[in-house]
């Protein structure tokens, strides 16, 4: 997760450099200056999105009364800690980028402002599923920015060379993993989900609900039957040595991605952009396909993605929402984020604009790249995150590696994660069913 985000940013930067040099600061006509009698305001905006400052420049030129100052305060991992510290000290930005799974924790930490009264301005620009990611309890707490539905990214050249068929179900995936070992003993079909964001994305199409609220209390379903099924699927593949166990975005993993040891990577749509930085020699050799399904279901899981929230410290929430609506749902804003930042936008309008974009370098041979990616984005599984996702992610990541090394059951890992999350919720004063 950690490294994924970091590399994702790096990769997106690379993609952005390639497409740099255009993007009109096309004017947005709709932004009225209603209610800004107090003169020009300056809003501080913390973000790790690549080149977002260039996009914001366009806004600033058009809106002398609402000036936005972009601060690259931290990456996805450190953003929450920095934000909590500064807002608790009575400082901090007006707006900050937040991964979807971190939003609930920012809500209960009293950092995110309820935007329900402004939500009409932007909620129509997103699918219902996307809006559910920024809906916490009864409130809407952020404006979605980018989403990352899962896709199956594979080495098209090597699949052809070894005579392999792209798997459409996980059963086919398991059979294919075995076949790979026969035709290319040193290669692996792919890696196993030793980070919780990947694992969670595998369970979501099955309808797993890791967190849900029953009125005033929380239900935690991390060790539910859906997750158990996914865990039981991967354990024999790992034990038989049919999948690779290198953690992604380690140097070892990069080597294996680059030299053809790894034939596929099931990942969010940011994967193609991120992979080019670790596997530059394989440019054009990859393609994406829909993520394999468990029972032929059409929904896919989500891995990553982020939104922008307004903090409770902001004196100008109305102006902030106006800016965020422009940035994430207007054609000028989304075009800038796509072209300069390499983003996979969350808004419907933004996604429509993707079809006109050049495909990422690593999949440059695939003509229907955007078609496949956008189809995945159309039908994503509903996801509710809880207020202590980090506890689950850390516990899972640590325990699954230990279980793989010690050859103990992955079901125990699920139990340990469930127990850690429940204990943490109770310690924080939540009631848990």
């Amino acid at each position: 997760m950690k490294n994924a985000q970091r590399f994702r940013v790096a990769a997106v930067a690379a993609a952005a450099v390639a497409t740099l040099g255009l993007s009109g600061c096309a004017g947005s006509s709709e932004s009225a200056d209603e209610g800004t009698s107090a003169g020009p305001v300056t809003l501080e905006y913390w973000s790790w999105a690549t080149n977002v400052d260039q996009v914001v420049e366009g806004w600033n030129q058009e809106h002398p009364d609402i000036q936005v100052k972009v601060v690259e305060a931290a990456g996805a991992d450190d953003m929450v800690a920095k934000l909590l510290a500064s807002v608790r000290a009575g400082e901090g930005p007006d707006m900050a980028q937040a991964e979807f799974q971190k939003l609930p924790s920012l809500v209960v930490s009293d950092v995110a402002l309820d935007l329900s009264t402004y939500a009409d301005q932007f909620s129509g620009e997103y699918s219902k599923g996307t809006m559910s990611l920024v809906t916490v309890g009864d409130g809407v707490f952020a404006v979605p920015q980018d989403v990352a539905p899962m896709v199956f990214m594979y080495r098209r050249d090597l699949f052809e060379q070894y005579g392999l068929q792209v798997p459409t179900t996980w059963d086919e995936y398991a059979a294919l993993a075995k076949q790979v070992k026969e035709v290319a003993p040193t290669a692996f079909l792919g890696g196993y989900p030793d980070d919780a964001s990947t694992f969670a994305a595998y369970t979501q199409p099955l309808g797993a609900t890791w967190w849900s609220t029953g009125g005033e209390s929380w239900n935690v379903g991390i060790d539910g039957p859906e997750s158990q099924r996914v865990a039981k699927f991967w354990q024999p593949l790992v034990e038989d040595g049919l999948v690779d166990t290198t953690h992604f975005f380690t140097p070892e993993w990069g080597t294996k991605m680059n030299d053809g040891t790894l034939l596929s990577w099931t990942v969010g749509t940011w994967g193609p952009g991120a992979a080019i930085s670790v596997a530059p020699d394989t440019a054009g050799a990859w393609a994406i396909a829909p993520m394999p399904s468990w029972d032929g279901e059409s929904q896919v899981g989500l891995m990553g993605g982020s939104s922008v929230m307004v903090t409770k410290n902001s004196d100008h929430p109305q102006e902030a929402v106006e800016f965020l609506t422009w940035l994430n749902t207007s054609s000028a804003g989304t075009a800038g984020m796509i072209e300069k930042g390499g983003l996979f936008p969350a808004s419907t309008l933004g996604q429509e604009a993707l079809a006109e974009q050049p495909v990422p370098e690593i999949v440059s041979g695939q003509d229907d790249f955007w078609e496949v990616a956008l189809t995945a984005a159309k039908d994503t599984a509903p996801v509710t995150w809880g207020p202590n996702v980090q506890v689950a992610f850390d516990t899972w990541g640590d325990a699954i590696k230990q279980a793989s090394a010690a050859r103990t059951s992955y079901l125990d890992v699920l139990t340990a994660t469930q127990d850690a999350v429940v204990a943490d919720l109770e310690k924080s004063g939540f009631s848990v069913d």
């Binding site: 609930p104 309890g137 009125g215 207020p387 980090q390 990541g397 090394a405 939540f430």
Partner: protein, 300 residues
Amino acid sequence: MSRQLRPRIAPWGFLAPALALFVTFLLIPIGYAIYLSVVQLKVDGGAFGIRRKVFVGLDNYVATLTNPELLASLGRLAKFGLVSVPLTLGLALVFALLLDLPGIRFGRLSRTAIFLPYAVPGVVGALLWGFMYLPSTSPVNFALRTVGLPAVDFLGPGSIYGSLANIAIWGGVGFNMIVIYTALRSIPAEIYDAAHIDGATEWQVAWRIKIPLLTPALVLTLLFSLIATLQAYSEPTTLRSISSSISYSFFPLMKIYRDAFGTDDVSGAAAASVVMALGTLLISLVLLRLLQRRTFEDER
């Protein structure tokens, strides 16, 4: 201002800068940490209640002392310390004794070479070693492969302690060697002359004269090494990104960092920090008390 007052004010005037720094950078932060350790952020009800600060007394300390994760991390730290501390001190002593041999050649060069790793920042050292451990870049494994032997997994769950200790030893020997060496140089040469006249070999001089006289320096280095071990953080944190064997809570300080900045449990982290600090103090005091008679009192 009367004359009688001046002597009372002057000492305070001289002390003021030091006191101000001491209060600002030590007492106040410690006080704040203790305050944080007796409060906690708790929601006031509801699934999306807001977390607010409430006084919880010693709850955080109870949670810290009964936390299996923290105990496990202390256990891992003990494994690491059992390898790194004796080897660091042993090697430092051997190098210091060798450099103190009469007629030593390239003494200054060797001293610098041994001391140099101490000047390398811990993170840089860990990165350097990390690439030595990684299967794809490790020269050791390259050599093993070349002669047809199986590769060594330096980052596996069992070998990681040795690999981490190796980095700590590499970085720590130089400093300890200098401390011991300096103590050696301050031993009067007459003692050696007397021993040599009595027919003592260099071995006997080292074993019966140098090492007993070095005891205060050895105790000091042992104390430093123990404290450094308890504070081990940067090496495992750096290697975490390349090894699956290092968890978020591998060593106590890593767990404290994660609690404070990963899962927003500053209070739990503060309580654990206080416990760690008291533990370090206790170990230091016990160690000094135990060794006092043998070392410092002899000098009187």
